[in-house]
């Protein structure tokens, strides 16, 4: 069976929407944790630790085989991705400690534009950035701000 480019894109959309839904569910669980048990930074650190243990256990076979043959470049890029994501989470919580959410939320919400900018610089030949993608991302960001301040 041949899978078309359009079908692949829609699979990607399905994965992305499911990820967004799970992140939203996680925000509700996070609210329960920070209301009743721990500060956001501690909650985040332990959630990532247990996420690592769970993910590592489930994918142990594949990861064990692949990790041995992985190039140094791949290790560095993936490691940097994890560090960048951790700095994102930490920066978000630390920013909320020193200033108000009305300042933090709009700045953090523009991250898809940063991804687009960085992708246009570092992913040339891997990823094509169109004007439509940029316009779509800007509209999503404005929509997210509306939703954020409307609830």
């Amino acid at each position: 069976m041949r899978v078309t480019v359009k079908e692949i894109t829609y699979y990607g959309l399905l994965f992305a929407v499911c990820a967004a839904f799970l992140y939203a569910l996680s925000a509700l669980v996070g609210k329960k944790i920070t209301d009743d048990f721990a500060s956001p930074m501690v909650a985040s650190a332990f959630s990532i630790l247990f996420g690592l243990i769970a993910t590592g256990s489930v994918f142990f076979g594949t990861v064990g085989k692949e990790a041995r043959n992985l190039s140094g470049r791949s290790w560095i890029l993936i490691g940097l991705s994890g560090c960048a994501s951790a700095l994102g989470v930490s920066g978000w919580y630390l920013a909320l400690n020193v200033t108000e959410v009305v300042v933090v939320a709009p700045i953090v919400a523009v991250y898809p534009l940063i991804t687009i900018l960085m992708a246009s610089l570092f992913l040339r030949g891997i990823e094509k950035i169109t004007k439509q993608t940029v316009v779509g991302a800007i509209i999503v960001i404005i929509g997210v701000l509306f939703v954020g301040f409307g609830t």
Partner: protein
């Protein structure tokens, strides 16, 4: 105020760069392995920050807190990050980031469904814009 703005920019830069680094590595590694290795470095960074800022709090955590940490870890990382990386692998970092950034919409929907919040103008207009934006990002010739 300046510190807050700089930390917010650091957060946006971190989230933005994470997707780009992962996409750059995807030609030679599976999503499963990328998810696990990225979690190793994420865990190291956040644990160092948490231990240096909240050491006393960590020592006094209630046992029940760990059940919730495990639940959050399963949902956010075994589920969310794994699917996010799959989306980046298939659609590219820029498109996947735009779609995944719609998370607050789903949070609002869950709040309406389970916490009894009402749908006001801002939520309605925001939802419409997110749907239009995602359609523009995904449906391209």
């Amino acid at each position: 105020m300046i510190t807050g703005i700089l930390l917010s920019l650091m957060a946006a830069l971190g989230f933005g760069l994470s997707a780009v680094f992962i996409k750059a590595s995807m030609s030679s590694v599976s999503v499963k392995t990328a998810t696990v290795i990225s979690l190793i470095s994420s865990s190291a960074v956040t644990m160092v920050i948490a231990l240096s800022l909240h050491y006393e709090e960590i020592l006094s955590l209630a046992p029940m807190a760990f059940i919730w940490f495990i639940l959050a870890g399963l949902i956010t990382f075994l589920g969310g990050r794994f699917l996010n990386f799959h989306a980046i692998s298939v659609m590219g970092a820029s498109k996947a980031s735009a779609v995944v950034s719609s998370t607050p919409l789903f949070t609002a929907i869950l709040a309406v469904l389970f916490l009894g919040e009402t749908i006001g103008f801002m939520l309605g207009a925001g939802t419409l814009m997110i749907v239009v934006g995602i359609t523009l990002v995904v449906v391209q010739e």
